[in-house]
Subunit: 236 residues, 2 copies
Amino acid sequence: MELRALAFDVFGTVVDWRSSVAAEVSAAAARHGLEVAAESFADAWRGLYQPSMDRVRRGEVGWTALDDLHRASLDELLERFGMDRLDAREREDLNLAWHRLRPWPDAPEGLRRLHARHTLCTLSNGNVALLVDLARHGALPFDCILSAELCHAYKPDPRTYRMVPELLRLRPDQVMMVAAHPSDLRAAAAEGLRTAFVRRPLEWGAGGEAVADAAGFDVAAGDFVDLAARLGLSGS
Amino acid sequence: MELRALAFDVFGTVVDWRSSVAAEVSAAAARHGLEVAAESFADAWRGLYQPSMDRVRRGEVGWTALDDLHRASLDELLERFGMDRLDAREREDLNLAWHRLRPWPDAPEGLRRLHARHTLCTLSNGNVALLVDLARHGALPFDCILSAELCHAYKPDPRTYRMVPELLRLRPDQVMMVAAHPSDLRAAAAEGLRTAFVRRPLEWGAGGEAVADAAGFDVAAGDFVDLAARLGLSGS
């Protein structure tokens, strides 16, 4: 197996969206003297993620970047959670919470080890600007930002997975998709990519359900440092 | 002026293609007991760059990545320089010399300083795989690899310059194009980007002609460290 590149799912796999978004929601509420169930707000925002992309996938709306889907969902949630006194500028800033998500604690070191031998790219439904900001914010050593935005199709559209070996000029089996979500990995495998499942049991918080049905991938790892070790890369 | 991102031309601006390619040509020739005018070979290879892209620009051939244009030019030059005994594998490897170009000596430190405040991307006619390899090879801190390949149009096509603010979700005047070539900068300015001219008097070797007509840009700098200083970034 001549593995050359790793393509990373980002939300939930590289970064902890839930606690990061909740912290910014809580701070925005506090500035107006409000208290809000910030983790429920974060879960609800993330809950609108798939339905909002589905409207693009079905062609009900033209290509819309994730920043703009997030922004539309935010208006709905601010009303639902009694925070509609936030003005346009505050909403724009809160929407950028998704550009400032914290990496999981193992991510920077795990990526650093993997980077020593492999080309690392993102493959996310996040738009390019969002991913660039995330990588800068977390000092994450990605060599290349690849996004669903570049093919105007959201994962699990096959074009998104094919884009990685095409742009890196590799065979599909020289690329490994890394994700905490089996559905993402199965779609990548269908295009010939190798697959690494990484457990992220806290993605939906301490009470979240464990991912079931995570068997059948080329590698299964506890975190990114463990993934590096399983690929033969120890610390240096 | 709220400058947010810098977009770098690469060949000649960030990397010294001439001495890097010449060294690999010379080594390939030596493996066959041949001597070759390696710098002339490098100049001739680069000389076929614009004509080969012109065929794509005029639509005489469909979109063709720079790696493939380089590869076709290489066959022509190996014959012209008496090196046609190189086999297919050796030609493929020599073609990858363009993925291993050395940065100008000031580039890593200058980019590091600029990276502290600004988002840094490439905007090159090199294809994504080539640019990813170059950035890894030179440990260059680009946040994002943008390439003509992503819009299937070669600079100075306006779509290439527009892609930068569009993907980074910035206004054109928040982006500065950095190049050693006035024509590149003028095309960027026509799309509303700011411009920084960087002198690279050795791009075509010690006997190369100095760039004339380099006035009228927002910044003119002697190298990337000087560029960082002119943008208010000193060392840290």
